[in-house]
Structures are given as C-alpha cells and as structure tokens.
Symmetry: C2
Subunit: 377 residues, 2 copies
C-alpha cells in the first residue's frame, strides 16, 4: 500500500473502485491449517459423536493415521485438486494468506510431496498465498521407535523439507510428542533457518507453552490447558497464542483461558485449524464468531485475530493491516441484510460470508465486481 | 412424488437428471424463524458479549422492542426486499419450506403487514414455501397494560391475522407472557382454526411444556429448562420439541435435555430461530451441526430434525421426506472435498453448504444445473 487516507487527500491519478457501502477488510489470514490430505474421517466423527475421545482414536491407529494412509494412496493430481478446492473456498471468504502444514506424510519424501503440492496449488490465479510449515512430528507412525522417528524428523525429513517450508511445527501433547522431543525438533528447525510454532497444551497440560516462550517461537496453538506459568512464558517470549475454536467445538472441549492471556498481554490470533479429524471447518469467519461466543474474545480481538495478529503469528508484518507499506490485500464484504457496514456484524451473523470484491497485491481479482471500477480519477 | 425406487424398476418416460455423485436430500425444512424485520441489533450483540443478559436487554426496552421500532420505520418495499434476501439465502442452502413468524408489529395492522409481506416475498420464483405464524404475543409493548394487551392479541390482532397465518405462537417465559396468558392466546388461536406452537422453557422454567402437551399443540420450541413432567406432557400430547442451537450458542446457554427427550420418545426438530437478537444465523446446516456438537443429537436425528421432523412440527406430512405421495421437493449437495456422498459429511463440515440442484414440486429450478438434465429416458 502506498497511500491510505480520506478521499479528499487522495493523490491524483490511479484507479477508483466504489465499494458501495461494503465492509472493507484487510485480506484475511488463516494462520493454522492442515489443507493437504485425501480421504474421509467420517468414521472418526461418528465415533467421537458417540463419545469416543480423539486421543483414543489416535492411539488406536485411527485419527491422523487414517488420513496418512488415504493421502499416501492418492495421486499427486488428486491431492492437488483437493487442495485447490479448499484454497478456493478460503479465497471466496476473503482469506489471502493461509498457513498450510504437512504432517500426513510422516516420511521424508511424503512430507516434501505435501509441501510441494501446497505450493503448486497456490500458484493458480486468485489463490491465497501459502506459508508452508513442516510438521513431520504430527504423530508417531505405528510400530516406529520414538527415538528413531525423532531422529528421522530432524534428519532426513528436515533435509527434504527445509527448502520447501518457511516454518516447523510439532504436535506436542499426551499421545503425541513430548516436550523434550519438541525442543529437539524445534531447535533443529530453527538452526535450519525455519520459523517455529507448536501445538501446545491441547489434550493435556505438558509444559509446552513454557518451551514455546523459552525458544521465542512465533506461535503456540490450541492452549486449552495452558497454566499461569505457561502464559507468563508466552508473554515473556513474545509468542502469539493461536486459538482454534473449531477444534474446541468439535472435540467438545473447554475454552483456553482468554482472560488470563489478555491480562498477560499475549497477542491472540484465531484460525480454522482446518483438518478432517478435529476441525472440519473451512470458514475463518465462522471460527472468529466462535472465538467470541465460546471463548469470550471481544469482537475487536476476533477481527484482529484473523488479520494482523494472524499475520504476526506467521512472522509477517506486511499484511493483515491497511496501512502504508503493507501489501495491498483487501476484501470487501456485504453487510448482512439490514445491517450497517460494520465488520462486527459479520461476526454476529455466524459464518458463510463471501467477499464481494477481492484485491490481491493491489490488483482487483477477475472474479470480483469489475463493473464497480472506474477507469481513472 | 409418484414413484421412488431403484433405477432398474423406474417407469418409462419422464426426465432423467444425473446428480453426479451428489447427496440427495428432501428439500430442507426450517420450522422456526423470525424473517420479517428491519434494523440492526449490533448494539445488543456487543452488550451481550460484554456479559449483559438477553432478558435484561428486553426488560430495559431494548431487545425485541428495538426491532419493533426499526420495522415500523421501514417501508413495505424495504421489508419485502430484506425478507426476499433472507429467503433467497435459505433457498440456496436447500431450504424449501420455512416457517415465518410475525411478532415485530405488536399492533393489529402492523402484525398483519408482516404476515402479508412474508407471503409476498415467497411468491418470487424459486423461493421456499412459507408457513406463517401469528406472534402478537412476542413481547409486551412498553407502557401497555398486560391484560389489555392480551385482550388485543386475542381480539383485534387475531382478527386481523387469522386469514394470513396458518399458526399462532406465544413467547411464554419469564419477562414475556405467563402460562395462563399463553393458554388464553393459544386456545383463541386454535378456536380460530390455527395450528399452535409455543416458545417454552428457555430463559426460565415456567411450566409451558406441560401446557403444550395439554393443548396438543404442534411444537414446543427452545426447551433448555424443560423438566421431567414437561417432557412427559410433550410425549403424551404428541408435541414436537423444536431445538434451536443458534440461540443456545448466542445466549451461551446450556443444552435442552436431549437424552431425556429421546428416552421419552419426543420427536426432535432443529431450526435456525433466525432473528436479529438471539439467533442471527441463516444456515440450517450450521444449526444442524451445532445440534450434534453442542446438544448431543445423533447425526441421523439432526438430519431428520431439518427434514421430516421439521415438517411434522409444522403439521405437514407431505414434505421433508422422499416417498410416494410427498411433494417432490429435492436438493442435491456436493460432498465436502474428498468426502463420500453421505449426508452426515455435511454435518461434520460445519455450515455453508449450497444446493447444486434444487427441485421444487417436481420442477428443476432455473438456477440449478440445467446441463445435467437429459431430455427423456
């Protein structure tokens, strides 16, 4: 963006776009997703709704492992088409930057394949930009020795993925990887020049938030069970708390301690956590509404959570905001019927909002309302 | 519908429509909505999110009264356009029958006006059919004497509305109308030939469910606070329990006792309760997902709740089902990316589903995928 301000002070020349009473937002940021996978987890959903726990499904060889197998069976073309379909849906809702994790490969080539496909999918016109995160430490493959697998993650997997990803992530939890393993993996990623993030304190308290703070990583995500010491560490370490209301609702979980995070000054982002098993929700507006309704974020916090704080969680300072120097990613939304042009009305009306006009890097996208453009001032 | 069965046994002649791996559903039923209104309740939303109760907003002269004033100020043309926009959005999601309540007039002519507009809005091509419900007893207008107002509801208001509505409703709750007042109003409606329904046991337990059972009305809606005696009365009286997960979530309320309703054999419908104050959600798929996630309905119960049991709540036996003798209202949905053609996947993926093909009364609607139609068998 080269200039932002009132119309009367606008520099002459350039293009004029009448947004016609719409709600202008910076392009939305979805800073936590698992977009590249194949196959269904309907079976898991039915079991969960019948009372089985996510942890029990995973430790029984289902959960993530079901998706790893289905993803392995899918061709590159199939995976690309699935990923493009999901990116297109996010794009329609105004998302212009989305983080995409690997984690359904769990082998060096399979992890690299997912990151490659994520990059290819985002090349199609009008797609959101992707920030790719290597998540080889998503689950321990059945039958693998822990120590041996962690060695592979920091060895062959990291070597295969570091050129394809901007970040590294670990699912640190009971039933997944320990705090010690997470530290080893995150340090290896940081040494390889990657940004770092962590699935922390979701199923059980582990002390992962304290680790996140100590390593000054970009974000700690989930945090349903973070304690006071963990919150203090996040604040001290400058770590963004990424809240994932879709997973909280799907797992019928309790809320992260939003009041305490707020009081400690920890920035709070909100993301879809889109994945087939614990958060099958591809609508960043819906999760922002849920962050208000089920977690107690203020509407203003939720709006920042899917824009500037979402960007901050990805280490990006030049998007998620409308100001000089930022990338000119913008989206215009229609207020719900009868409502004012106030972005908080989009949170009040839960989900399903489609951007009427999308501007990516200063360019009005072709599927947007071209008729609204006047040739010049 | 004149015939339903496997392709091999299909009678010859007629039109062939290839649904191409889509999910075939009966046209959806939204059996509780307040669609006809003008104005914003963003102010109430912000106060509620800050901790104020819905009841306090209403008793302070806000809440419903804010919408009554805004609706009064709006022209017929404005109200018609707002209502059509909302109906169109429901239509896109596959809804083919929607109940629409008055209740933002609270005067004889003003109530009749809303019902008239609801009927007009539904006349546009491709709109859902509306079942209209007279809800003069939505709130006591500030400054009005209770007895005098109830007399107006059963007198001048009912006289003005009975030819425009198929049903009558009362908001029976603490801060609204008493069980005794509700009985008087519902009996007057039944005497005038209207079906009857009741907002029951939401904010506080009042005994409204027992009344619903005793009067054998069509449905009792909300029921967050229904007790065992109330559930037994609903079962005995053949009353459908209409569950409204949007309002439950927006008001951060607890769940109705689904296990007990199920055990007593009370049929459970699910509806949007779309209204600007306590359920700004226009997506019947989203509330069906919430019914599973936040109330504990099984996926099968939730699907029945937005189809055949929703129709039952409206006293309609000929829709919400795919069988000989039913109206041929059908909708075809694309499974979420990578999923099987199983309607439960639409519940797992929360909201935002658009019907790819819509068939209303046996006719494929013009905005549907016409290319899929082959001229004849």
């Amino acid at each position: 963006m080269v200039w932002v301000g009132p119309e009367a002070e606008a520099p002459s020349g350039g293009q004029k776009l009448d947004v016609g009473g719409g709600i202008l937002m910076p392009g939305l940021i979805d800073c936590h997703s698992h977009l590249v996978f194949a196959g269904s987890r309907l079976g898991d959903f039915l079991k969960r709704m019948g009372g089985e726990s996510y942890e029990a499904l995973l430790s029984g060889g289902g959960g993530i492992h079901t998706t790893v197998a289905a993803t392995k069976s899918a061709s590159d073309a199939e995976l690309l088409a699935l990923t493009q379909g999901r990116l297109a849906r996010l794009a329609k809702s105004g998302v212009m930057t989305v983080e995409v994790k690997s984690g359904y490969g769990l082998e060096p080539e399979a992890e690299a394949r997912l990151l490659t496909i994520a990059g290819e999918a985002a090349r199609a016109p009008g797609m959101p930009k992707v920030v790719r995160t290597f998540l080889g430490a998503h689950a321990l493959p059945p039958g693998r020795d822990r120590k041996d697998y962690v060695a592979e993650v920091v060895g062959a997997q990291l070597a295969a993925c570091k050129g394809l990803a901007e970040r590294i992530d670990v699912y640190c939890d009971r039933g997944a990887f320990t705090v010690e393993e997470a530290e080893q993996i995150l340090r290896a990623g940081q040494k390889a020049g990657l940004g770092a993030t962590l699935h922390a304190e979701q199923v059980a308290w582990t002390g992962a938030a304290e680790l996140a703070g100590r390593l000054n990583i970009q974000s700690a995500d989930h945090l349903e069970r973070v304690d006071e010491a963990g919150i203090a560490a996040l604040a001290k370490g400058g770590v963004v708390a990424v809240l994932l209301p879709g997973a909280m609702l799907q797992l019928r979980d309790s809320s992260p301690p939003v009041m305490q995070l707020r009081a400690a000054g920890v920035p709070m982002a909100v993301a879809t956590d889109f994945n087939p098993g614990s958060s099958p929700v591809l609508d960043v507006w819906l999760v922002a509404s849920l962050a208000v309704l089920t977690m107690g974020l203020t509407p203003e916090e939720a709006l920042k959570g899917i824009t500037r704080v979402g960007a901050q969680a990805l280490g990006l300072k030049d998007r998620g905001r409308i100001e000089v120097g930022a990338v000119a990613d913008l989206a215009v939304f229609e207020p719900p019927s009868g409502e004012k042009a106030d972005p908080r009305t989009l949170l009040m009306y839960m989900g399903g909002h489609t951007a009427r006009i999308r501007i990516q890097g200063g360019r009005v996208l072709a599927d947007s309302y071209q008729a609204a453009i006047e040739p010049s001032l």
